[in-house]
Amino acid sequence: MADPLMLWISALLVVVMWAAALSALLLKSHLAAVVSTSLLSLGLSLLFVLLRAPDVALTEGVVGAGLSSLILALALIRLGLVGGSPREREVLSETVGDKPVTERGSQQ
């Protein structure tokens, strides 16, 4: 019944999505985690195309891979989990106040 090509592509996509999901949770770098989530959305979007859901695929591509990644990337900067410039991190950590900042991203 199933087109063998579709079978292989979806198997590949599922593997990619699983790998992206696991690396989003397990990788040390927060930036890499966000990139993985974006990759997951991309894979999901392709899978939606295979499943004859072009509307959903477009939405997942635009919202999941695009907007959501943008939001998460902004969050990385604002939360001081990744660069900006070193000066920027300083500014952000200054606003934190007297408490020691324990989270300074993966580089340290």
């Binding site: 509307d55 959903v56 477009l58 943008l70």
Partner: protein, 240 residues
């Protein structure tokens, strides 16, 4: 402490495994690829009574328009909450710091902005014909409006007041289109205006208008949200 943590980690894993097994056996019990389509079939049989060539649009804006209204409200509530949470002294804008890269971004944003907005509106206005529609187009417009901010040119384009008015107006338009049907003696959110010919740009009655409202609202809301997330550093003084 750490040993305790490690032993505790097994409980969630066990639960996850159980959940996965349960879900898997439940979903495998349903024949795959042969949906019942009780409601879907009824929609198919109406043969485009709403005049939308894209049946997903017909569902989103016609049959299940109340869901879409709720969804708009959710985005609205989220962006309002973000504004409420991050209100405070405006500080530096998060932007691309590296100078050359900034230059690149600036150039790109100048070029991309009109193009992206055009693409966004194209997707919105063809939502009843082709895949895509208000949400997807709205997101593209939002990202386009946000580009200058990212390129470090500040929030020049994003006049908060204007955005709020556009956003509020578009949301009101969606509801008022529904209420207008009510005033004509029909149901709330019932599509009206002539259906036209399926596949034409001006067809499907009020659906394209609804999608336009959705697109503008989503675009304005998300643009506001993105600027909030990127600019306002919360005020240093902590309440109490």
């Amino acid at each position: 402490m750490s040993r305790e943590h490690r032993s505790m980690a097994w409980t969630p894993l066990l639960f996850s495994g159980g959940l996965a097994f349960m879900l898997f056996s439940l979903f495998m019990a349903v024949p795959f690829g042969e949906p019942l389509m009780r409601v879907g079939g009824m929609i198919q049989q109406t043969d485009g009574e709403l005049g939308a060539a894209n049946l997903v649009t017909a569902v989103v804006l016609g049959y299940r328009a109340l869901d879409t209204l709720g969804e708009l409200a959710i985005l609205f509530a989220a962006s309002t909450s973000v504004g409420l949470i991050l209100t405070g002294v405006k500080q530096r804008t998060v932007s691309v710091e590296c100078e050359e890269l900034g230059e690149l971004f600036e150039q790109a944003s100048t070029l991309l902005l009109p193009l992206l907005i055009m693409v966004g509106f194209y997707i919105i206005t063809h939502g009843h014909l082709t895949p895509g529609g208000g949400f997807q187009g709205g997101v593209i417009i939002a990202v386009a409006l946000f580009l200058p901010t990212l390129a470090g040119r500040g929030a020049a384009l994003l006049n908060h007041r204007l955005i709020q008015q556009v956003e509020g107006g578009a949301g009101a338009l969606f509801i008022l289109l529904g209420v207008a049907a009510l005033l004509q003696g029909e149901s709330f959110l019932q599509p009206w205006l002539p259906v036209g010919e399926i596949g034409a740009l001006f067809s499907a009655g009020t659906l394209p208008l609804l999608y336009l409202a959705v697109g503008i609202k989503v675009g304005a809301e998300l643009a506001a949200l993105l600027t909030h997330l990127s600019t306002n550093v919360p005020s240093p003084e902590v309440p109490r």
